[in-house]
């Protein structure tokens, strides 16, 4: 079945002059034939995922409210690792795992400063590979704030999420009998009325800025929505659309 208005010209007279409308019409027919148009599910999943996140660019609308995110100003980090200690203390992280780390990069040939520190943690992705991989939906995107949460009772400990995570941000917690990960201190701080994460509160150099990216008055919003300083994310190519931004300067 081809949808065509009655007073339209014959479809293709001159192949050079295929109009935009004709192209669209043709595509639409193709979509109807493949049955994608009717449900629209396959197409819309891809496009919705595209809209979900800027991937470094600036989005007009954020899918969560508050849309929690963290901006890490890497050049300010002095490698004291008080954030790691604060995190361990707040969330009872065992010595064999981590929720946040400060990685160290040394470039001997560099002029001036030869070392830089790169804090890493769960990126609370908008398109999280771990959530897709979980066979029992024990890990999920919180519908309100977008934090990637764990349901410890559901977790069967198969560790597929650990293999799937592009940021290596998950570990198996023996005590909990479940995989554990950073939840932006939701359980220990945010849900109790605090406004910051433990790592941010412990940082003496104001490296980690935590906040609501959907609020134009927040610091994170101002740090991300500007063009003067570079803003990037880690492992952009996996298309996980992370919520941890890095900036310098």
């Amino acid at each position: 079945m081809i949808f065509k208005s009655p007073n339209r010209e014959p479809m293709i007279k001159d192949p050079e002059k295929i109009s935009e409308m004709d192209r669209r019409e043709f595509l639409k027919i193709g979509l109807v034939i493949t049955g994608v148009f009717a449900g629209g599910s396959i197409v819309s999943v891809a496009s919705a995922a595209e809209k979900l996140f800027p991937n470094g660019s600036i989005a007009e609308k954020y899918p969560y409210r508050p849309h929690y995110c963290m901006v890490i100003r890497v050049d300010r980090c002095i490698g004291c690792r008080r954030c790691v200690e604060g995190c361990v203390a707040a969330n009872a992280v065992p010595p064999y795992g981590w929720r946040t780390l400060v990685l160290e990069r040394e470039v001997r040939q560099a002029l001036g400063q030869k070392r830089e520190f790169i804090p890493v943690l769960c990126n609370q992705c908008n398109n999280p590979p771990c959530v897709r991989a979980c066979p029992v939906t024990a890990t999920y995107k919180d519908p309100q704030n977008g934090i990637v949460m764990m349901d410890n009772n559901k977790c069967i400990g198969c560790k597929i999420c650990m293999a799937a995570c592009p940021y290596d941000a998950r570990y198996y917690n023996e005590e909990r009998g479940a995989v554990d990960k950073c939840d932006f201190c939701f359980e220990t701080r945010l849900s109790r009325g605090e406004q910051s994460t433990a790592c941010q509160a412990a940082c003496p150099a104001d490296v980690r800025v935590f906040g609501d990216l959907s609020d134009p008055r927040s610091r994170v919003y101002r740090l991300v929505h500007q063009l003067q300083q570079p803003v990037w994310v880690l492992k952009k190519d996996t298309d996980a659309k992370p919520n941890i931004f890095y900036t310098k300067g």
């Binding site: 780390l101 990685l103 160290e104 990069r105 790169i118 293999a163 995570c165 592009p166 492992k235 298309d239």
Partner: protein
């Protein structure tokens, strides 16, 4: 597919998996059928031998497909990102070189393929050996897939001190025990199946007791038309 791991992600991977599942199925059919006949000390009859030879041909085709995809995967890894190249180097010339060349390619592809060709659809013993090799090497194929996919640290490209080396893996005692338990369980299930489902066989041989299964006699007339075993 997990797109966070380059080695586990690619358009050819599903085809590779399906082809190797087919191959494994063919190998298992040959292996366990021949084994079942040996367990019962029965000679293979003509129709069954022909059927096995046909399965052997299919296994040969699937082996060719697997060989093609293995080569193709190695080629595409070379033009992919750093992760893919590191994994390829680990397989081709690194810590997995023995597993890859000897166990996967040698025992799992070239030798069984040669044996299947050589068997010419007649020598069932040769087919049996080829299928046993395929089953054996499939284990290492999967093991290498799982392990090599994870040897590159996730933060490799940052060039940080903490993740400057590739991960190493050696199985723990528990893991080896689990694998052995799996092999043992399969063997036990096979033998149990042969004992319990003996009723599907028409001929009862001397020394094979079916005393506890009265329904065998009822099934006998129906089964007479197929699966005839030479007395």
């Amino acid at each position: 597919m997990l797109n966070g791991r380059e080695f586990w992600y690619g358009p050819y991977l599903p085809i590779f998996f399906i082809a190797s599942a087919f191959l494994m199925g063919c190998a298992a059919v040959i292996f366990f059928t021949v084994l079942a006949y040996r367990v019962h000390r029965e000679p293979l009859d003509r129709p069954m031998a022909d059927a096995l030879a046909a399965v052997g041909k299919l296994a040969g085709v699937m082996l060719a497909v697997i060989m093609f995809f293995t080569i193709w995967r190695m080629v595409t890894l070379a033009v992919g990102g750093t992760h893919g190249m590191l994994v390829r180097d680990a397989l081709v010339s690194g810590p997995f070189a023995f597993n890859f060349w000897a166990l996967e390619v040698g025992l799992g592809m070239i030798l069984p393929f040669a044996l299947i060709l050589w068997s010419a659809g007649k020598r069932i013993g040769t087919l049996f050996l080829a299928s046993a090799l395929v089953i054996f090497s499939s284990f290492f194929m999967r093991l290498d897939m799982v392990v090599a996919g994870q040897i590159v640290p996730m933060y490799w490209e940052l060039g940080v001190r903490e993740y400057a080396k590739l991960h190493a893996y050696s199985p723990t005692g528990h893991e080896i025990l689990v694998v052995l338990a799996g092999v043992g369980l399969s063997g036990a299930a096979f033998l149990l199946g042969e004992k319990v489902f003996q009723g599907f066989r028409e001929v009862q041989l001397a020394g094979t007791s079916l005393a506890g299964m009265p329904e065998d006699d009822a099934q006998e007339p129906q089964m007479a038309s197929n699966g005839k075993v030479d007395g």
